[in-house]
Amino acid sequence: MKPEDLTWRIQDRPGETFRVHRSIYTDDAIFELEMKHIYEGGWIYIDHATHLPRVNDYITTTIGRQPVIIVRGENDTYQGFINACSHRGAKVCRHANGNSKFWTCPYHGWVYNTAGELQHIKDEQNGAFPEGYLARDHNLTRIPFVEAYHGFIFASLNPNSPSLREHLGQTARFIEMFNNQSPEGLEVLRGRSVYTHRGNWKMQAENGVDGYHVDVVHASYFKLAAERAKKMAATQGQDSVKSISLNMADTNHGNYDLGNGHVMLWTDIPNYRDRALGMQYDALEARVGELEAKWMAARLRQVLIYPNLILFDGVSTQLRSWHPVAADQTRVNAVCIAPKGEPDAARERRIRQYEDFYGASGIATPDDLTEFDACQDGYNGRLAEWQDFDRGMTRAHQGPDRFAEEIGISPAVSAGHFADETLYHGEYRHWLQVLTAGLAKDALTEGAS
């Protein structure tokens, strides 16, 4: 594939249309390119530091298609290795997580330390290896970058990546806001939710910041919440969930293109004092000030950190990340994240609101997944080639709006409507830029060889 085989698939005509060719969701060659140049070619979210609290704590996961071990070192540093023995390539570390000073490959017993250095070759003296064999590098292959920002661990397999801080760009403001819920920082709660669906991974990156679908796809959720509140008011019973409500007619809302593919969506929450952090609103305001408290507790924020993480802070608080498995297969990891030291009543509220909405066992997420799968089915209708993201085009604001200015961020594009689709232009411009740059680089490499 050449850059020009991709560029025609994104038609970007400001003021007229922004449309994408649906093959980007179905084409296996494009999926391979995405794995190579997006997932294995740049910064990827790995996990939260909650899961690696001590030195020599490790997790195993994948970056793109590549199996990796991520391990915590001294002084809050992290390093990572391709999880393949230098001998025959067997996965050295088979556990999902653990703590160890050494990893012994279960196949032929080679031993590595957590710096990835080969420490022991079984029966080395008797090995009759060729001359110079032992002097060769038999260490685990090191991942170029593993780094954390406020406990959010990212890694890149590309030695030419920009710094993590540069990659995060304007999302850093929102990560800090998220992290500041407690002066003690955040902790991921125990209890995982892993689910799969038959849709392309880019629908995860779209839908988590899509305001347009909310009242349609989640009609059963919002109607149920309203029924529950009404019934409880009538009987003076205890509503054990207190779901959050949204009201687009009478509140402020919008979304931003933050650059580097990162985008975010926000809206005011009418009953924000029913939120876990809202229950302590006055104390929060005293600690962080009026403006910051409003953004942190009274304003829903859903921030896509491209390409594989969304911070959700609204219905409850969730970290959702995903692993693309194939063009039409995605595996999602969702966890609840909460401020450390949270009062019991607020913690329970957060948990009940989380379970109600999120996860494939909740009463909202399965409806999203059903729509992704339905889109994937629709994309097989090859005669219907194109779709646009034109909603909001004539009212999108270039640069920051007054809400962005009040928190000191400079989005490339600001939308004053929750349901506008102009933020996707940022996602797909970045997507195209990364893939075409990758293809150009591949062409040079092939030319040279």
Binding site: H95, L189, R190, G191, S193, T196, H197, P366, D367, T370
Partner: protein, 168 residues
């Protein structure tokens, strides 16, 4: 086994099979009737291979309903016609086996069982299954048994699109 023990065992088996049938046949009101009003329905989430969460007030559960009304909420949603994931209700078939009365003391009866729930999804044109273990706390009131607590430990917790009260 005493006559009373045998009668209890029969009643327990009947209750568990009635619950499975009520769900599979979508007799939702009959299903809800099996639960006490303050019954707890609890499907804990896993944290690791052998690490199951056990505190629904501090940890995330797959499903936690602290009373029957929360179960009724899920039934309401199934009946609402507002959810696209439920627009074509999957066919389900619960196989409930290995039923044992663990302890029985006055009105409190503790029961364990295994389950294998097959789900046929119309959109996917394929079948999936969840399997695992049930732990019941039942209330015995004369001849009648009701559910005080049902804990559902799902062994295969990677969820294809949807898990709800009808397919575990």
């Amino acid at each position: 086994m005493t006559d009373d023990g045998r009668a209890l065992r029969e009643a327990v088996i009947e209750l568990l099979l009635e619950e499975a049938d009520a769900i599979d046949q979508r007799r939702w009101d009959d299903w809800l009737e099996l639960y006490e009003e303050d019954a707890v329905y609890y499907a804990p989430a896993w944290e690791g291979d052998d690490d199951l969460t056990n505190d629904p007030h501090r940890e995330i559960s797959l499903i936690y309903c602290g009373n029957r009304q929360r179960l009724a909420d899920r039934v309401w949603r199934i009946r609402s016609n507002l959810s696209s994931s439920l627009a074509r209700m999957p066919r389900t078939c619960h196989l409930v086996t290995n039923i044992r009365v663990a302890t029985s003391h006055r009105e409190n009866v503790s029961v364990t069982a295994n389950f294998h729930t097959n789900t046929f999804k119309h959109e996917e044109k394929e079948s999936t299954a969840f399997f695992g273990r049930y732990q019941y706390q039942l209330k015995r009131n004369g001849e009648k048994l009701t559910i005080r607590e049902k804990k559902i430990i799902v062994y295969n917790d990677i969820i294809p699109r949807q898990m709800d009260i009808f397919n575990i």
